[in-house]
Symmetry: C2
Subunit: 250 residues, 2 copies
Amino acid sequence: MPSRKTKSIGPPPPVRAVFPLPFTTVDLVIFTVLDDALQVLLTKRPDGTGEPFPNQWALPGGYVDVDTDKDLLACARRKLKEKTGVLSPYLEQLGSWGSAARDPRGWSATHVYFALMPARDVNLVKGGNAADVAWFTVLEDVRQMHLAFDHDAILESAVERLRSKVEYTSLPAFLLGEPFTLPQLQRVYEVVLGRALDKSSFRTRMLDAGFLKESDFIEGHSNRPAMGYRVVDRKAAVVFPRTFKSREGE
Amino acid sequence: MPSRKTKSIGPPPPVRAVFPLPFTTVDLVIFTVLDDALQVLLTKRPDGTGEPFPNQWALPGGYVDVDTDKDLLACARRKLKEKTGVLSPYLEQLGSWGSAARDPRGWSATHVYFALMPARDVNLVKGGNAADVAWFTVLEDVRQMHLAFDHDAILESAVERLRSKVEYTSLPAFLLGEPFTLPQLQRVYEVVLGRALDKSSFRTRMLDAGFLKESDFIEGHSNRPAMGYRVVDRKAAVVFPRTFKSREGE
DNA sequence: TTAATAGTGTCTATGAGACAGTATCAA
DNA sequence: TTGATACTGTCTCATAGACACTATTAA
């Protein structure tokens, strides 16, 4: 009979329960917009180690380490830093997937987080357990691959969540490095949504929502310079009261 | 990170990994609307069994059973049926909570689902591991309690999710038994949102959204009979293009 | 001056909110 | 006939979408 509220110091017992436990992992869906396309970060599964799905591409992730990870979010942050070097991007829980069949090693459950980050902030970290790390476009590259485990389904769910939230939140701002211009932001919205938006209504919506502050920085990569903006609160997205196209079928 | 063993055919080994695994549980946040109030189903933790939080109220849930549960959803359905007898209510994943501290027995992660059901469908099942099961109003009863584990935080998150979705989806329809009338449905919206809605705009919104079919059944519990409706698709909610009160701070 | 991109103004349509009015029932 | 509830119509206002317009730069 375990006593309350005491975390044991020292080495954990070899067996933690008298019944079998599922494996517990954390996986990450890391998005960016690069070359006018939505891209996702994947890592290659190692070869020759006896691990399942050798040489196949997979979402970055791995086992929860009971000794170092305080909680699931801390575990996600740790893995994020290991792969990208980025410390505090926009990070949100997507959900969890668990079943007897998804991993040949046995019953496993994964807690999935999705992250948004500017491509230029990322410093791809190669080596380690994963042989390789790279960006893949969601619409082209990944369509022609089969990811390891149930990661195809997880990615699909992440893209769906991202798309639907982009319809009524300021999420895309986290995909851009600061400061950014309104036309740049609009392009990101259009890339994720896969359709064009009206310039005028886009500007009013963004500026009225009050989540942007002028960076009093002008930035022109070609002709007339545009106003630069920064996000007021880098931690949370703003929710708009309407979706983008209220008229007719989404 | 230690290497993992491959799954063997035959009886499962007593130890499934050479590194410690977190406990894996599934918890349920079961909502209904009863007596013009949003209510949640809680179970009382057992006493004298050495389990943590004896006699405290908690969300129904428990360990994933690797041998009987095919996946997390199946596990959630099993527990749902055990407590309420209801087989297929509206069921959606809320998220997962995991940390070293939430359960005194050790690192644990719980996968939380939330369910919506008509109160009249529920047959409270007492006994078993949980001594007691009952409905509690979210706004009054639960405010004065302290739930076991981190269930206060989980419930708060579930209520928040429910409220925000009620602003722009047809979710409340799943809290009512069929057929129901539009005034009944409006009352449910108002109870969950905690504010009154305009009758006229409510009716147009609901009927235009096309998720209701006339039950050609008239139901009058007092005066002029109202049209009865049923939900077209009992599995999914409809998303409205706008929130209820677009003008000013929600 | 031209090309290119940034940004604004003007019109229309939609639909929510407000609220008054009508319809249909029980007693 | 009265009261209660179901339901409809009418007005206003906010704002998204469409699209033409002006502004500011580089070459």
